[in-house]
């Protein structure tokens, strides 16, 4: 299987204390990987390291076999950050303008939209059922609709892997169901690799084929089917362990 992401001996700290220490991780093509862990355990930090938004204190990250700091082919990667909703709600852009911008690398000499890109934009919007909202201003949409626009933006460059950081927080439960079905379809039918941070234990256990727990600066790997609630409990309770540590044998 092709390696999408490879992390070797990575450690990271923002200032004094290490958030992650000596992490090793391989994400393979077709994986549906879930990151679990208590708030502040470093899940978002890890994704930002994988995407080169943060520089490791030591160790290396490779995406598609290339050191992330030299990676340029960003169309192959999609990302919805935890902060995606914190944009300027009165930014005067339409749905279509936002999605078009993501195709920057596909534009010609002039970085303007052209008719060649139009079908791709419409396909991405159709995927999330937002085709009728192309010309609407972003800030005029509901939270759930904005979320779908950001998914369309992620999908428009036809990525091979998508990173989703708590993508459904603050969205009603129907929109959540729709969304998880969509992600499942992307993974099963289109073979898109999915890396997701979510506290929805049901989704994680039913859809992920690999679960990675972040506890005490380290990763613990589980296969999806052997995953039980132990890791989750450990996650939500943090250091007040109910479950003895020996359950965490690294399955790599």
């Amino acid at each position: 299987m092709k390696k999408i992401v490879e992390v070797n001996d990575l450690s990271f700290k923002y200032d004094r204390d290490f958030i992650l220490q000596d992490i090793n991780l391989v994400i393979e093509q077709g994986d549906f990987m879930a990151f679990l862990g208590p708030n502040g355990s470093g899940k978002s930090t890890l994704i930002q390291l994988l995407l080169g938004s943060l520089k490791p204190t030591s160790g290396e990250v490779k995406v598609f076999g290339v050191a992330v700091e030299h990676f340029t082919d960003w169309g192959r990667i999609g990302y919805i950050s935890q902060q995606v909703k914190n944009f300027n709600q009165s930014f005067p852009a339409t749905v279509k303008e936002l999605i078009t911008a993501k195709l920057y690398q596909q534009m010609g000499f002039l970085k303007l939209s052209n008719s060649r890109l139009q079908p791709r934009i419409e396909r991405a919007l159709a995927l999330v059922d937002m085709l009728d909202y192309q010309d609407r201003q972003l800030g005029s949409l509901s939270g759930g609709q904005q979320q779908r626009v950001f998914i369309a933006r992620t999908m428009v460059s036809e990525p091979e892997v998508i990173f989703l950081d708590e993508p459904m927080v603050g969205v009603d439960s129907r929109a959540q169901d729709d969304f998880f079905q969509l992600v499942n379809r992307l993974n099963n039918e289109l073979g898109i690799t999915v890396v997701m941070i979510s506290h929805d234990i049901h989704v994680v256990s039913s859809q992920a084929n690999r679960v990675v727990c972040l506890v005490d600066r380290r990763l613990y790997h589980h296969q999806g089917d052997e995953f039980d609630y132990s890791c989750y409990l450990e996650g939500v309770r943090g250091k007040n362990r109910l479950v003895p540590e020996h359950l965490h044998q690294v399955v790599d």
Binding site: I77, F87, E97
Partner: protein, 274 residues
């Protein structure tokens, strides 16, 4: 109207004015959406120091303003990276330094009356030399915006998203700040260094009242700036007023009018419960 245009200095003023009416709000939209409006003010005050320095050294002041504002712009871009959390503070410090230097240099300059035209703008003093800089650089600025349009758009939406879409963020930020500094230096002659930042922001503020898209915001902004500049220059000619002031006050009047009309429309849309 036609009488006014028989004066060749007025023809030059209108040509320069209209070029600036296009480029100032064009870059203004990106600048305001990045929430960096203060950069316009900062660079223009530093550019004033350049003008004064040019007068002392006997170098054409517009050239010196171009040079100094480009240097300041590159410095600002560097500082913006190192002091991300205090962007406003670092800008205010550079602004203060620029204005301080400008004041000292003006007091040293042999012809401190001439400096007035760079502070408040002048229509009678626009020279052929000004035309020969403003037109080509104006065209270059417009072309650069076209060339990198969606990159600049994304940069003003979110820099990190832009990077993850393969947009060369660092390079485009430098390109952008360079075209801002060029626009400001070019505009000093006719709008004046103290007022140019307003021509960058006021038409955009007006456009934001009406536009429903980014492209629409740009088009409306340019439209309002063109209207302000042409009516401002006309008032300036007939009533012998400083053009920078008449242009900006016209712009503010349009803004107030548009906000008023929007409010009226809003009231009419309210359901009638009576």
């Amino acid at each position: 109207m036609s009488e006014m245009l028989t004066y060749s200095f007025m023809q030059r003023a209108f040509i320069v004015g209209n070029v600036i009416a296009v480029i100032a709000p064009l870059i203004g939209v990106f600048l305001i959406m990045k929430r960096l409006a203060l950069i316009g003010n900062t660079i223009s005050h530093v550019a004033l120091a350049g003008v004064a320095l040019g007068m002392i050294l006997g170098i054409y002041p517009v050239y010196m303003a171009l040079l100094i504002s480009v240097i300041a712009a590159l410095g600002i871009e560097r500082m913006r990276k190192s002091y991300q959390d205090y962007a406003e503070l670092s800008l205010s410090i550079i602004l203060a330094t620029g204005l301080g230097m400008a004041t000292i240099l003006i007091s040293l300059a042999p012809n401190s009356a001439g400096i007035m035209s760079y502070l408040f703008g002048s229509i009678t003093l626009v020279t052929r030399q000004d035309l020969s800089i403003v037109i080509p650089l104006g065209i270059i600025i417009i072309l650069v915006v076209f060339k990198y349009y969606y990159g600049l758009f994304y940069l003003s939406f979110n820099e990190e998203d832009a990077r993850l879409s393969g947009i060369p963020v660092r390079f485009l930020n430098i390109v952008f700040i360079l075209i801002i500094s060029l626009t400001i230096a070019l505009s000093m002659r006719i709008i004046g260094g103290l007022l140019i930042a307003s021509l960058i922001s006021i038409p955009v503020a007006t456009a934001l009242q009406l536009a429903r898209s980014f492209k629409g915001t740009i088009i409306y902004s340019i439209f309002f700036a063109v209207v302000s500049v042409n009516s401002g220059l006309t008032f300036s000619f007939y009533y012998d007023l400083a053009p920078g002031g008449t242009i900006i006050i016209t712009g503010v009047a349009i803004l107030v009018l548009v906000i008023g009309l929007q409010k009226l429309k809003g009231y009419r849309k309210q359901p009638d419960f009576s």
